[in-house]
Symmetry: C2
Subunit: 351 residues, 2 copies
Amino acid sequence: MIDEPLPVVKPKVRLKMADVARLAGVSVSSVSRALADSPLIPKELRERIQAIARENGYVVNQAARNLRLQTTQTIGLILPMGPQSDDQLTDSFLLEMIGALADEVVRRGYDLLLSKVNATSDGWLFDLTHSHRFDGLLVLGQSDQHVALQAVGAEYPAMVVWGEKMPRQSYASVGVDNVLGGRLAARHMVAGGCRDILFVGPSGVPEADARYTGYCQGLASTLASTLAQSGAPQRIESRFNFESALTAVREVIARKQTFDGLFCASDIIAQAALTALAEAGLSVPGDVAVCGFDDIGLARSLSPGLTTVRQDRATGARHMVDILFRRLNGIVAPSVQINAELVVRGTTRGV
Amino acid sequence: MIDEPLPVVKPKVRLKMADVARLAGVSVSSVSRALADSPLIPKELRERIQAIARENGYVVNQAARNLRLQTTQTIGLILPMGPQSDDQLTDSFLLEMIGALADEVVRRGYDLLLSKVNATSDGWLFDLTHSHRFDGLLVLGQSDQHVALQAVGAEYPAMVVWGEKMPRQSYASVGVDNVLGGRLAARHMVAGGCRDILFVGPSGVPEADARYTGYCQGLASTLASTLAQSGAPQRIESRFNFESALTAVREVIARKQTFDGLFCASDIIAQAALTALAEAGLSVPGDVAVCGFDDIGLARSLSPGLTTVRQDRATGARHMVDILFRRLNGIVAPSVQINAELVVRGTTRGV
């Protein structure tokens, strides 16, 4: 490393508005008006006050200014709540969504305030939306908190939720057509020869429930003739994380249940399923076909590549932030559903 | 979807402190004191005021409370500035760091305020640290802003930067030993038979410069005898993103420059290099060995797996947030350097 002296920049001293007033020989309210470029202060005086403020390194206290103006220039983002709130933030889908949302929000000159909340008390969401810490709220996943979102959505329009569109929803949501996604996956796996497909994912989370519904519909429509002698739809309970899914799939294998397909509610669950199958010496897709949901970067890079249902993050984030900013401007922009798309790679059998 | 009526929760009306005072028949300052559980208000009256506030859904205005208490319960996080500020937030290393930092910060009951700043004017960092919007600041990467960090670090101790430890640094930093990482990579590639290794990465960014320095040291120590007839260290300029690296490596191939190894300043750069090599029909590691830096999730999943220098995100994030909170408590905790570790996979030749 080069060890030469660095340029020294003298740290500036923090001035208050009163200091600027003293230096300019005017009142504090004149300084306030001049810095807001108010025409109530004569142009020449205004410019002199502005110059004094600038030259002496006066910085606006954003917190005080925001409180006065009732604005924060900040958008809140809450991360998965309820059953997922203990999970560490390692799911690529969530991380990529946060990145895409941050891009969209900062492009509009706002900051993003990230909170991870535990939905412990009834009023948690009401308290949050009334905390005056942000102008609008993005929620990443409904988790099992639809009722709380529904209550707050009725009186707080500046909230957009990533998730499944629910009946008579009071809040705006953006998400893929999860039912369609589940149907596409199940039909594709049946067409490839699967007869005993298990669903691996959580229950009570609207997005996962909708994927399960689609999977049931897909099985029912394609297996109608053979359903009696083959396996009915079956859910293997797993949270949205690697360890939980690994345990769940290992248990299914250990109890010698027969199955030839796993439809997983996320790519991380699918990755865990592939790990459990490999441990047990089962081949993919020869013995068991595997399909995920999300299409995170990993899906393409696995070998063989993971067949999955794509959720387009960039499109989703753009819709969420567009809707939120339209709502901040008083336009009650409605929910958006993004198309679900099956991406066939190597973990399922071709047709 | 089930289309049954949802439970209706009556939205609460936002009360002010004056409303609580009126309902309780006391002064506003008594309410303020009672809600802060001050012993100046008799216990019985205090509990009655607290009950009235609770039953009527009174919520503290956090912005006003924070301004009064001179606290924000928020940690700022700024994302890459300078030459990287135009890039979209898609680099897994950054996203995984944000996730790990969010985990560490929220575990301490704080929120994380994400900003992406353009380091356009001289005073941008001074203005930010004096904005009163957060209690302390985390900076993800020095970019080319060491001078600005150095100036602010001298008067604002509550700042921790992910990056390369610089000589006479005024601010706290956490980062891996980048020089060691570069040295390990170069030595490993030379031991595997490489004689013409190019470095692909940005110049003017301390972390990348340190990796380049280590690479030069590694070449010098191992190739000393053959350096005269083989290639000297050479840097192929690329920003820290996929497209920039893809263009850079394509150009090297197009001008028929001979090389048998690429040491890339990040895994994303390495991924682009692998893409460019595959396009040109060059085999890895047969024709060209490739080594990355970071060890993002992708590195393990590529086929063959990417040899890389590991930067442990969880450890790094824990150190950053630990140092920051110790500094918030008045303890000037020093910088930390994390060990760099070579992870050998399939894109380099074994020894």
